[in-house]
Symmetry: C2
């Protein structure tokens, strides 16, 4: 998209990092940023994550060839409705939301064939453009969720965009995305938060690196995760039921003192984790 | 303990790291190593984690001023019984076990007042002396669990020993140790392993850094963790019940679509995690 215009709606950690990466890797692209706080836009401008702040959504997308929604998922519906009358004819719209079924449904309904859902697996528990990072997407997995309705040229353009930012790409359906992400992202978040509910302040003074790693993601933004969990409700409830099953199983093994059974349960999961670790050596 | 003899029973990641740290920080100390595999002892010798391998437990502890048990907790009972007739009169015995109530009970019963329980919060999901590291204990928290029965000179000596290796020290009772560690270490291990039980191989290909961090400890040795979980059974069952309560609560919030309640639940845990993060900045 050389010499074109990119519009970033929501200039936080992810939106800001997209801006920085684009400024470095896609010379000639003009980056417009929009956010509901003027101070954030000024910071983004100062950090050179955007070239130009917009005062409103209409202005933000008016000249854009590509629009990327980087706000919490809960705001997407309203934003899509608000921007659609102001888009150029050929504008392509994508997003970085952590859920895809409802987002793609809304995107295709409101924007049409030129909406393509994306989910770059990058970011951290940190918030705000001050944590933006030029290399955030380098080697990150980006899940694209095109459907039968998607415009092939739009899918190609969005794919190329993420590849230019350093992402590895994978394409799956929005439904499958949400089902699998419940297990590898949304449920782990809930488990980490649940673990934080237990220890007293005194007990947390005894925590080691294991505890800190296991619960790190629980420091993520509450409102953002509330939106994700409620949006992916059906899969979350199914995953929570499965987790309950796992915990009931280990509880029984501990209660009955089943040495062999408990070692087997732990070792099966250790092997699976080691395999995942090898494939994702970072 | 300058110019004295240290005996390390079990020369794996922890035992080997103790050896390396002692060789660097306590000049003149002779380090005897014992393990059930001769090949491990040869590797430890080659890595200079020990000065001398012992053929059996009697030989390993015969001249030792300080003996440290670094095997899995499940072997402690037998080892304590086997070494006690061979200890020097003034020998002090400690351990690095992850549980303390049963260990200290056995230690005091078999060894007497000169057994002092320790739990240095160091290590990783890795196994084996090849992962030993001179600085493993630097800044690590070491929990000491002396009791009314402990010999004050032995407690002092063991305290000094860990401090020399770089540890920060805290003293609590064995019971309190096990209750708190269930929440900040043993339950998180079970939760990480349980999370590994859910995703298909295909789904794990979509995992990001969050999932990898949350489940990292599930790669720990199964037999070692089996011993810990069964030894700390009562506290584990209480902690599992509390975790179940947390998960039932979040399940209800998701099921009823309670936006405010879910955000509050997440934010309370986020704040707690942030506070822990600040205190444990590493």
């Amino acid at each position: 998209m050389r010499n074109q215009t990119l519009s970033i709606i929501g200039v936080g950690l992810l939106g800001g990092s997209i801006g920085l990466a684009v400024k470095e890797r896609l010379k000639g692209v003009r980056v417009i940023g929009y956010g509901h706080r003027a101070s954030t836009l000024q910071r983004a401008l100062k950090l050179k994550a955007i070239d130009q702040p917009a005062d409103n959504l209409a202005q933000a997308v008016a000249g854009a060839d590509l629009v990327i929604l980087c706000t919490p998922v809960g705001l997407f519906g309203k934003i899509l409705t608000d921007i659609t009358p102001h888009l150029k004819d050929n504008a392509i719209v994508t997003d970085v939301g952590s859920t895809k079924a409802s987002v793609v449904k809304a995107g295709e309904k409101i924007i049409g064939r030129r909406f393509v859902g994306s989910h770059p697996m990058a970011g951290s528990e940190k918030r705000g453009v001050e944590y933006a990072n030029t290399n955030l997407f380098d080697q990150a997995l980006c899940i694209l969720t095109p459907t039968r309705k998607s415009d092939p040229a739009a899918v190609r353009m969005v794919s190329e965009f993420w590849k230019t930012l350093g992402c590895r790409l994978i394409k799956i359906s929005p439904m499958e995305h949400d089902r699998m992400l419940a297990e590898v992202s949304h449920l782990p978040h809930v488990a980490a938060a649940a673990l934080m509910g237990l220890p007293s302040r005194r007990a947390t003074q005894l925590c080691g690196k294991g505890f800190l790693d296991t619960t790190r993601i629980a420091a993520g933004d509450g409102a953002l995760w509330r939106d994700i969990l409620l949006d992916n409700r059906t899969n979350m409830l199914a995953s929570l039921a499965k987790l309950r099953g796992e915990l009931e199983r280990v509880e029984r093994l501990i209660k009955t003192g089943d040495q062999a059974g408990l070692a087997r349960w732990l070792d099966e999961r250790r092997r699976k984790r080691e395999e995942v670790g090898v494939r994702n050596a970072i």
